[in-house]
Each structure stands twice: as C-alpha cells, then as structure tokens.
Amino acid sequence: MSDVHDPAVSGWSGLARGAAVTATVTAATLLFPTKANALSLTYASSVPGTGDIKVLNYALALEDFEAALYQAALAALPALGVASGNAFYNYVLEFSQVELDHATFLRSALTSAGGPVISHFTYDFSIITKATSPRSILELLLQVEATGVRAYLGAIPLFSQGSKYLQTAAAIQATEARHTSILTILRNVLYQTATDVAPLTADNNLTGKFTNASFQYENYSPTGYNISKPNEGVAGIDANLQPDTVLAAIGPFFVAPVAT
C-alpha cells in the first residue's frame, strides 16, 4: 500500500515518516522534515544555565515545543475530519494536556530554583496547519514523541550524579513512552503499518556504552539467543539520543525566542 503523503509545504523538505520508531536510532534515522535557514540550536549555546538547571531547561525546551505542537495539531485536525469523539483526536487531546502540564511544571520549577529559564519560542508549524491529511500530523506527533523518549534518556547522564531531579525526569520520560506506543498503535490501525510498539530484542542502539572497566560485560549468551556484540542493541530497551542530535532535529520548527 503506497504511503499517503502531503505535497511539500513551502520551505520544508520531506515529511516526518517515522517508519521504524523503535528500530536502531541514529541521527540519520531521525526522520524529521528539514528546512533551509533553520535556527541552529545546540545544547551549549541555546540552552541556558549550567548543570542540572541546564538539563531542565533542555527538557523545558522540548516540552514547550511538544505542547505547542499538540495545540497546533488539535487546531488542524477537525478540518481534516478528525474531531472530538474520534479516538485519534481524543488521544491527541489527552496528550496535549500532559505535555502542557510538563512544560508548566518545568517552567515553574526552574523559576523557583532561581533560573535562568529558557524563553518561550514561536514555531513554524506550517506542516501541521497546511496538512491535507491527518496522517502527516500523526507521523509528526509520533516522531516527536519517540524522540522525546530518547532525549530524556540521553539527558540522564547530564544531570549531576544522583541528582534529586532524576526521578522526576524519569517520571516524565515514561509518559512520553506511553504516548509513543499509543500513537504507534493508532498508526498501525489507521494506516495498516506494522511498526513495533516497543523496542524488540536486538533492535535498538545503546549509545551510552559503559566505559568504566568494572561495568564491562562480556558477550552474555542466554540459551537460544545469539548475541554477537555487547552493547549492540540486544536488550530490548529504549535507545538514547544526545541533546545536540535532538535539537538539530527539532530546530527547524523553532522560529525565534519570545521576548519577555
């Protein structure tokens, strides 16, 4: 069955086509649309603060983006025939609320911690507003959520060791994982794709390799499984992404910081 896809939206190239959101994840397989003259966001220069505050600002940047993306999706879907009462719409509504909660919470937390706090941004969601099919909206939401799952995992080592924020960050992270699985199921149901809802064994990319010698583990081969290399995605766990990879992927949607 051929993919349904929208004609290119002016200024953008490609559409989010998260073909395998649980497969080996590298920067190259992050299937985000790209845009000429996009803002270049990096962890070092675009995220304020240091240490734990910086990591929280990174999370806030993601959550603000996700919250705004979901609002754009909610606004655009009804005209495409997906409105309240429709299962896809209802999930988008529910998840939009959760992402807004996350953003509100993180902003409040950073403010109470004395900041600095990353500014709000304006975004280019023309891919959403000009979508001619609900599928392209679903694809983008799915890709963003799948990226959020891995972004949080990649951020964990950036927190101070044993940071008090780890449990809270993890408490947010798994909600993104739930969203990802639900959106994957919806996509499978609505568009007859066959995407895994969770990482399979031998199917993900552990980028956080252990370097401490005492943590090295050998080619453990439980009966019946043929594991050829350690750390090569054998564990059936979610992968992680570095902040700069994530920021480069979502940067094209960011237009400008909102002056406070």
Partner: protein, 310 residues
C-alpha cells in the same frame, strides 16, 4: 470533579479501594474531564488563579517544584539502605537495585511465558521457544484461545504484542543478569518453586490474559521509578539511565495492553498492586502527568504474595 477530589485529599493518594472507581471511568469520561481542566490550564489567568487556590488550600506542594516526593525509606543521611529492599542481594546500592530489577523481570518473564503459552494452546510449563521470531512474525506460536471480545484485527495485533513482550521481558532478565555478572555481583535467582497467576490461571481468553498482565507491567513501572533514588555512586548516572530505559519499555507495554483493554493509556492511580506515590507528592496537576512509583518493600511484598509459589 474527580481531580479536585484527589488534590483536596492532599498528601499521598492511596487508592486500593478507589481502584474499581477509577477503572469504571471509561475513556469518554476522562476526555470530558480533561476538557474542563484543559480549559483552566490553557488560560493564563485562570491557571494562575487555579494555582493560587491550591496554594491557599495549603497545597503549596502542588505549586512548588520538584519536591523529593515522599521520602520513603531513606536514612537520615538521605541514602537508601539495603533494608529498603528486603531479601534482595547486593554489596552496594547499584547491585541491590539491579537485583531488585532482576527479581521483577524474573517474575515478569515467567508470567509472560505462561500467558503466551495459555494464549497459544501450550502447556503452562513449556519454555519460551528459543527460536526468536523475526519482527512482526509469530515464530513458533499461533493464537488458539478465544479472543474474549476483541475483534479479529485487534486480537491478531494483541497476540503479536503479547508474544513480543514475552521475548522482551526474557531479554530484560538476561540483560540485567549479564550486567550483574560483569560486576561479579551476587545475582538474584528465580523463586525456587516458580510463579503462577492467582488460581494458576493466566486467563481463559485473550482479553483476560491481557488484563492479568496489566497489573504486572504497571507494578514493574512503579517499581523501577521507586528505585531510582536508591542509586548512589552511580557514575554518570549510567545505571539510572539503563534502569530508565528498561522502565520506559515497561510503560510502553502497559500503554499497549491498556489500549486493547479499552483503558486509558495511563499512568493512572491505583492501577498497580501497590501504593501509588508521586514525585510531586500529589496527583498534580492531572492523574496522568507523571508516572507513579512504589516503594521496594511494598512491591516485593505484593509480588511475592500474588505470584510466588510458596
């Protein structure tokens, strides 16, 4: 409104007897509820008012950031002691947490194996087939049990996920074992007499099988999150990263089961078998904003009582 009821209770919301009430809420109710709160949260004026009303009600915890949650079994120095993980081996915090996770995965892997066997018409004692299925394939398994009301497309999808999750949990078990082996750590063993569902029945149809797996997954999610603060001397938070990566997939599994059960994707209160604790101290601002966690002693007590053959 239910959410205000939860918040006004204050403190930790333990939900054993509320579980039925929560589960009775179908998705439409939740969506309607969400619209009300959503309206408040979207409008900056009413949101500020909402926050200050909560603060005025003495629930400053809701407006305050990043409380350390409910503390739990921390010693006065703020570190977890092994006493917080009764019966779990390990020479230090990292080994104890890994073995705690392994204890859970040992149970989960076996329960999934039994559930898969039940759904595929195999005897309960059969091992998980070592011929790993290709992605999207069923390998050596066929769905033979009645669907329990699932339509045929859903049953087919759900059975595939059940199969995949069975292999994944086994892999988690093996992965954790390999890490501990690499540390030359003591390694948790499976319960001597094994595991079984209540009445030794994983479920008489596919939907019931999924329903009986759901609390297993949810408990696993809450267990992992509850163990995070126990990790000390965790260089670069690597073990925390691994644990979170594991728990992330448990959350995916739980959401998937929930979908086919017609439940909300979660997280939600009272859906596990142990007390639900929140990182902020309340179900803020909605019940599905943050994952819930449980204390290790609670989890282990419930796990052994429910599934361990004595």
């Amino acid at each position: 409104m239910t959410i205000l009821f939860i918040i006004l209770e204050g403190g930790h919301y333990t939900l054993q007897d509320q579980e039925q009430k929560f589960e009775a809420q179908n998705y439409d109710n939740k969506a309607a509820e969400a619209q009300g709160i959503e309206g408040i949260m979207r409008d900056p004026v009413t949101r500020r008012e909402f926050m200050s009303r909560l603060s005025a009600a003495g629930l400053g915890a809701v407006a305050m950031p990043l409380l350390a949650g409910c503390g739990g079994n921390k010693t006065s120095s703020g570190k977890y002691s092994n006493a917080a993980f009764p019966g779990i081996v390990g020479r230090n915090a990292i080994e104890v947490v890994l073995n705690y996770a392994l204890t859970l995965e040992l149970a989960e892997a076996d329960l999934y194996r039994q559930s898969l066997n039940r759904a595929a018409g195999r005897v309960s004692t059969e091992s998980l087939d070592t011929r790993l299925p290709l992605p999207g394939q069923l390998g050596q398994y066929t769905l033979t049990i009645a669907t329990g009301g699932l339509d045929s497309a859903s049953a087919k999808a759900a059975f595939l996920y059940l199969l995949q999750f069975a292999y994944i949990e086994a892999t988690h078990r093996d992965f954790l074992t390999s890490i501990l082996a690499g540390l030359n750590a003591p390694i948790a063993q499976a319960n001597l007499r094994g595991y079984q569902y209540p009445n030794n029945e994983p479920g008489a149809d596919l939907k019931t099988i999924l329903a009986n797996l759901y609390p297993v997954e949810e408990t696993g999610v809450r267990a992992y999150l509850g163990a995070v603060p126990a990790l000390v001397n965790d260089t670069n938070n690597h073990i925390a990263q691994i644990a979170t990566a594991l728990y992330s997939t448990e959350a995916r599994h739980s959401a998937t089961l929930a979908y086919y059960l017609g439940k909300d994707a979660g997280p939600g209160l009272g859906l596990g078998t142990t007390t639900d604790l929140t990182v902020t101290g309340t179900a803020y601002p909605h019940s599905n904003t943050f994952e819930y966690f449980s204390q290790p002693a609670d989890v282990l007590a419930k796990l052994t009582a429910t599934y361990f053959i004595k």
